[in-house]
Symmetry: C2
Subunit: 344 residues, 2 copies
C-alpha cells in the first residue's frame, strides 16, 4: 500500500527572524544543509516504491517559491494545494484529505520545517504504524523529550498496541516548567512531533464528529477550487470562512482511536536560534558560522552573515544574524525573545 | 597680525573602522555633530578678522570630498594642497609653509579630526602664544591628561615663558603604562594635542637644520607643482622621494625654541570607538545610538547603524557598528583591537 505525503508549508514563523521573513519563511531557507528545510522534507519521502507523489499545502503567495525549490531538486510529480489564507493545520490537512480521491489512501502529514537526521528510523516507524492505520487509527510520531521544554506538546503514552505503538492517553499542550519537570520525571511522556499518519477517511470522519465547521468549510472551498495543472486553488471566500485551529486541538485530542509511535530519529523542529546552534557544525572555538564572518578571541557564537560581512572580536555566546538590511544580536539561551523584534 | 590655518586632512585612520574607510576616513564623517570633523575644524577658524583663509592639506584622492564639504558649509576661500601620496605630517606641513608666500606668516596647524568643545579657550590660547611665536618660537598646545593613556605623546613642561606658556623640556612618545602612571603622578606633563603655532620661516629653518631631506623634497615638489584655481598639486615624483616622518620626531623634539601652551578646551582626538562613546549623548540605559536601531534589555552599548537596522536584545557594553556591507561587534574598552579587522 502506498502512502501520500502531505507536506505542510503554510507557516510563516517569526522565531528565526531576521533570516526567516513573511516573504521567505523558515521552511524555504537552507538552515542545516545545502538544501532548504522544505527540500529536505520532500526528499525524505522521495522513494516512489513507498511514497506516492507528495501533496504540498502552501500559502498561495509562496507558489513560485515552492515550484522553484521543487524544480531545483528534480521533483516533478508534486501536487500543490495553494491556501488563499492561513487557517492553521486542521483546515490545511482537511483540504489535502478531500483532494485525495481514494478514501482508503494513507496520508503522512509532515511539517516542512523539521529536521530528521535518521530517515531510516522514520521510515521504519511509518511501516510499523501502517497496520493500525489501515484499521482506522490515527497515529502521531512521539519524540523522546531531552529536557523540560515548555514550548512543545506532550503526550502521555498508554497501553501497548503492538509493533511499538501505544494508545494516546492524554495530550498536554505547552506545559508550565513544573509540569514539564513532572512529566520528565514520570517518564511515560513523549513530545508531539507534529507528524501524523492516518487514512484520509479516518481524518475526515473525525472532523465530521469533532470539527464539522472545519470540514464543511474545507469541502466548500474544494468544491469551488480552481485546478491549474498540478496546482489546486481552493475557493478563497469559503476557506476564509473556515475556523482556524490546529489538528491537535480540533481532532487528535478528541478522537478515540489515536495512537503514538515513539521513534528516535534525530528530530528537531529548529524552533529557535538556540536550537539551530545545537544543530550546526561548530569550529574549535565553538563558533557556528555561515556566510562571511571573521572572529577573533570569540567563542560559542552563532553567526549568520547573508550579504553582509560580520567581524566580531572578544565576544562570546552571542547570536548574531544579518540578513538583507537587518542585523540582530542577542545572547544564546534567550532566543525566544526574538519574537518581539519580528513583529515590528 | 593674521594667522593662516593649516588643516591636515591627509589621514586615513583605521581606528574607527568600519565607519572610517580609506575612501572616506574619519575626518570626513559626522561623528559628533551634524557636521563632519573636517567641517567643524574649518568652522573653528572661520572668523576672518582673526584667521586668514585656510590652507587644506589633503590626499589628492579626497579632493572632491573636501570641496563638497567646504561648499556645504559655505567656505569659498580655502586653498587646497593635494598630496599625491601620504608622507606623514612633517612633509605635509612643509608643503604648506612653502605655499605661503609671506615668510612672516603665522601658521596654525591642526589635524582635521579632533574635537574641541571650548573654542573660545582655543582662540584665547592662540592669542596668548602669538608674542613668542613672532619671536620665532614654535608652540604646541598641551592637553591636561585625564588618565594614563599609552597611545598619546606626553610633554614635560619646563620653565614659564610668560602668558601661560612654558618651555618644552622633553617629549615622551607613547609611553609604557608604568611610565604614563609616573608622569601623571609627577603632574608636570601634558598630552601633545598635535596642534601647533609657528611662523612659516621658523618651521622651514628648523627643517633645514633637523630634516633637510624633507625640506629639499618638499621644495622640489612645490617647484614642480601644478596650480589649478585654488588647488595646488605638488609634483608627485619629487614628493614620493620625500622621507615620511611626523612633525614631532622630525622637528619639535629637536628644535631649540619650543614652547607649550597648556589649554583646557574640551579636546578629544576621537581616537577610538571608546572615545566616541564617551563623547556621545547616551539614553537612560547608557546606550549611545545613531542610525536605525532597536534595543531591549540592553545597556551601555555604542551602536551606529548606517543603512542597516540593528536590533539588540539582552546585551550590554558592546560596540556595534554597521556601515555599508560591514558589521563590527566588540566589547567596549577593547576598541584598539579594531585595527586587525581594518587591515583585511
Amino acid at each position: 500500500m502506498s502512502i501520500i505525503p502531505v507536506i505542510l508549508s503554510g507557516g510563516g514563523g517569526t522565531r528565526l527572524w531576521p533570516m526567516s521573513t513573511a516573504e521567505k519563511p523558515k521552511q524555504f531557507l537552507a538552515l542545516t544543509a545545502a538544501q532548504t528545510m522544505f527540500q529536505l522534507t520532500v526528499q525524505r519521502v522521495c522513494n516512489r516504491a513507498i511514497f506516492d507523489a507528495p501533496l504540498i499545502v502552501a500559502n498561495a503567495g509562496h507558489a513560485a517559491l515552492v515550484k522553484d525549490q521543487l524544480d531545483a531538486i528534480g521533483v516533478t510529480d508534486a501536487r500543490l494545494l495553494l491556501e488563499p489564507c492561513a487557517r492553521n493545520t486542521a483546515p490545511a490537512i482537511a483540504l489535502a484529505a478531500i483532494a485525495v480521491s481514494d478514501p482508503d489512501a494513507v496520508l503522512l502529514v509532515m511539517p516542512s520545517d523539521h529536521v530528521i537526521t535518521d530517515v531510516p528510523a522514520f521510515h521504519g516507524a511509518t511501516q510499523s504504524a501502517l497496520a493500525l492505520v489501515e484499521q482506522g487509527w490515527m497515529v502521531t510520531y512521539g519524540i523522546a523529550p531531552t529536557g523540560p521544554e515548555t514550548g512543545y506538546g506532550y503526550i502521555c503514552m498508554g497501553e501497548p498496541l503492538g509493533s511499538g505503538l501505544r494508545r494516546v492517553d492524554r495530550f498536554v499542550e505547552k506545559p508550565t516548567r513544573d509540569a514539564a519537570d513532572a512529566m520528565l520525571a514520570q517518564g511515560n511522556y513523549s513530545w508531539n512531533g507534529g507528524i501524523f499518519l492516518f487514512r484520509a477517511d479516518a481524518y475526515l470522519n473525525a472532523l465530521a464528529v469533532h470539527a464539522p465547521d472545519i470540514l464543511h468549510a474545507a469541502q466548500q472551498a474544494m468544491a469551488g477550487a480552481v485546478h491549474n495543472g498540478a496546482s489546486i486553488s481552493p475557493d478563497a471566500k469559503s476557506f476564509a470562512a473556515c475556523p482556524a485551529d490546529s489538528i491537535d486541538y480540533a481532532v487528535m485530542e478528541k478522537a478515540q482511536q489515536v495512537a503514538i509511535i515513539p521513534v528516535s530519529m534525530g528530530w528537531s523542529d529548529v524552533g529557535s536560534w538556540d536550537a539551530l546552534y545545537d544543530l550546526r557544525k561548530q569550529d574549535s572555538s565553538g563558533n557556528a558560522i555561515t556566510g562571511t564572518a571573521r572572529t577573533r578571541n570569540a567563542s560559542g557564537n552563532l553567526i549568520h552573515a547573508d550579504g553582509i560581512r560580520i567581524s566580531v572580536n572578544g565576544v562570546d555566546d552571542l547570536i548574531i544574524i544579518a540578513n538583507g538590511q537587518e542585523v540582530m544580536i542577542m545572547p544564546r539561551g534567550r532566543s525566544q525573545e526574538v519574537k518581539d523584534f519580528a513583529k515590528d
